[in-house]
Amino acid sequence: MTDTLSKIEKRTAYTLLLPAVFLVFAIVLFPIFANIWISFKEVQLKDIRIPEPRVKKIVKSVSEDKTKLKIVYRLRNSSLIEDINNVEFLDKLPKDIEPVNLDSRCTFKSKKIECDFGNWKAKYKENFEIVIRNINNDVIDKNIIKLQKPRLSGDADNILLTTKFTLKNFKQVFNENEFLDLLLTTFYFTFFGTVGAIIFGMFAAQLVNQKFYGRTFMRSILLFPYVGPVVALAYTWTLLLDPNSGTLNALLVNFDIIDKPINLLGQKYLTLNLLGFDIKLRLALTTVIMFEIWRYFPLAFLFILARLQAVPKDLYEAAEVDGAGPLRKFINITLPQITAILSILFMIRFIWNFNKFEDIFLLTGGASGTRTLPINVYQQGFAVSNIGMGSAVSIVIVMLLIIFMIIYFKLIGKRANEI
């Protein structure tokens, strides 16, 4: 009895899970593995359209003779690179109408014109003509002929399914002398974006954890940057920082803080003179990191606030009795209580910032020294139109991601569920 019950339970579980698992498998897991396949191929963006034979049918009159018509089929191979093999053609004619001068490649049988065009090279084009006439010498209605759509079929290699592989993409990814720079930029962006967001989140959480007038309002607006759509916010920032008519530059110039506008998103380096040393600051990258911090500190805030509210109040009261001031209370009570959540946040946000695409793409498009690995996937795949290269960069990202995740689960693992 129990045996059958557990069997039913198992079957029910699989039925309930199957749709979700299948969908996630198809859309999330399959692409990750498909990346490996594509990254070993030489595929351009234009190759991914499956080549197909195309036809356009034009009906013309033949001089004065209304009982005859000429049909012109404009045939072509849609692909510029791939051949199409065994192209077959089929068109139907109405009753009592027959072709006059049929091409040798074609046959006419029971109102059907069937042709075997053989193999078409890439870019192949042909104007294929047939003259038709009515057996009873009646007038042929042009529209009836026009309405009948011809059919074409052919075999073509789908470049994605061939078994030609190459290591070229990976060689190119690693041999590019910018690869190190790319990794470094990604690392700067990720590290400073994560640390900055956590620091600001900590301040905000500490703030909202106190009692003051308008606290709930403050708590709501602190989440605005994260809740708002990235497109709208990124473009607002672009306007704000615009060198020609952006509010920020205009303000700074107005109050004589700077002499002339600074292109915060379009200038790669800014040379600062600190104590006699010239320091080259990655300006555009810093600005993008600022945006990143602005947009994602609310998440850190949310986590840290939840943890702060769970710290027992009597700890603080006891500390007060012992004569501890606000600073001591923060260092000796608050900080130890939130270190666990801070480390978890750091790991999670590090992984996510590492993959951030939209923010940088919308602000700078990867120009002025803000090209990170995810941006590179897009640029290789869609700007340079080299799908294979894009996939190869994706694979590099996945590899690094797996390393981060192993570290994450080794260090934090099950504790993540306890917060």
Binding site: T12, I38, S220, N355, S394
Partner: protein
């Protein structure tokens, strides 16, 4: 007499007052007021003088009189040493000084003798400053977005600092950008598409996630632990590594430029977190209630529909709002999959607007307001649910 707390108090409170004044000045400048001097040093000295006087007077005179008299004196001196400005600006200065003096009304020399008073003063003013800072930094871009949508390109290029809205104009003139984006740029259609995609994603995700979450939470089957850990791992893979294979496959299947294609991708990418959130909640429902249902002869469908769903409505609301937010704000997939303006979502449409450098920025900002406002309103209205969704889902983002 302890000098350290006194000096700390004087310094930090004066800095605070000067900063408040400067922020007010910046805000006023942005209303088109011609102010070009921050005068930080002089105003700091003035603020220092005020703090100094206030602390030495302490509780010797009535608080109300103290607050009123000294804010008035401060305002008058402030007006005298700073540039000429209209009355509304000066009233603002008065309100700021009123706020400041009432804030420090309890400070006097004996108060400064308390334990840890320097730290307390620093923390007090630091949190006050933090409130102003965070409110300003967060709200300013939203304010700019909103205000720019009511301006014209020419006015903005002429004076980028004048963000005031001219309400004396014809109402059609003020809202012109909104009329244009709905008429010329067809934003009505994009709002429709975005709503369909987002609501559709929520519905489909829930239909797939609720049974799956129930199975993970309640039933025993082979591979259960593996499945529940892999849910989180899968969730951590970012959209950018999925985009190229999905693009190629969708191109070949003709799923690009279709709402169905977006629905499938959005659902699949939000499913893991939806299952993760729901199963956590389902586990907290007492199993006895389900057993009662089983005895009544319900099958799993009946149990889910009649017992589990009604009991976990708050969690379902959280998941629904979170998924809605993700789908509404999503950009990468809509950028990749949609290139026919007929099937654009709002985010993609705004991105498309920037493709033409000639598009005036007020249209861009009007579009941004149209895409931002609904999600912010939903957030404010359903904050409780969305925050719990965010907390659970924020491993990603």
């Amino acid at each position: 007499m302890r000098y350290k707390p006194l000096l700390i108090y004087l310094f930090i409170s004066s800095i605070f007052l000067t900063l408040l004044g400067s922020i007010w000045k910046i805000m006023a400048t942005l209303q088109g007021l011609k102010l070009t001097e921050i005068n930080f040093n002089i105003n700091f000295l003035l603020a220092l003088l005020l703090s100094c006087t206030l602390i030495f007077i302490g509780k010797k005179i009535n608080r109300l009189i103290k607050i009123l008299v000294f804010s008035s004196i401060f305002t008058v001196v402030y007006i005298l040493i700073n540039e000429n400005a209209p009355i509304w600006y000066n009233s603002g200065v008065f309100l700021i000084s009123l706020f400041f003096t009432s804030r420090v009304k309890n400070y006097d020399l004996s108060y400064l003798k308390e334990d840890f008073i320097s730290e307390k003063i620093i923390f007090d003013f630091l949190s006050l400053f933090a409130i102003v800072f965070f409110a300003f930094v967060i709200l300013f871009p939203f304010y700019l977005m909103f205000v720019t949508s009511f301006k014209t390109q020419a006015a903005l290029l002429f004076n980028p600092l004048d963000l005031s809205i001219n309400f004396t104009n014809n109402i059609m003139e003020v809202f012109k950008s909104y009329f244009v984006i709905f008429k010329t740029y067809d934003f009505g259609r994009y709002i429709y598409t975005s709503s369909i995609v987002s609501i559709g994603t929520v519905i489909v995700t829930l239909i797939f996630a609720i049974p799956a979450a129930y199975a993970v939470a309640r039933l025993n089957f082979f591979g259960k632990t593996f499945l529940s850990t892999s849910i989180l791992v899968i969730y951590m893979f970012p959209a950018i590594v999925l985009v190229i294979p999905l693009y190629t496959v969708f191109s070949q299947l003709g799923l690009r430029n279709s709402i169905e294609g977006l629905l499938i991708v959005y659902t699949a990418t939000t499913l893991p977190v939806a299952i993760y959130m729901l199963q956590g909640y389902f586990k907290s429902i007492p199993k006895e209630i389900e057993d009662a249902g089983l005895i009544d002869g319900q099958n799993w469908f009946g149990i889910i529909v009649k017992i589990i769903i009604p009991l976990s409505l708050p969690a379902i609301a959280s998941v629904a709002l979170y998924v809605f937010m993700i789908a509404w704000n999503e950009f990468l997939f809509s950028l990749m999959f949609l290139d026919n303006p007929k099937s654009f979502t709002l985010s993609r449409a705004i991105n498309h607007l920037t493709g033409d450098a000639e598009t005036p920025r007020q249209y861009l900002m009007a579009g941004s307001v149209v895409v931002t406002l609904p999600i912010l309103l939903i957030f404010v209205y359903f904050e409780k649910y969305l925050v719990s969704g965010l907390t659970a889902g924020s491993v990603k983002g």
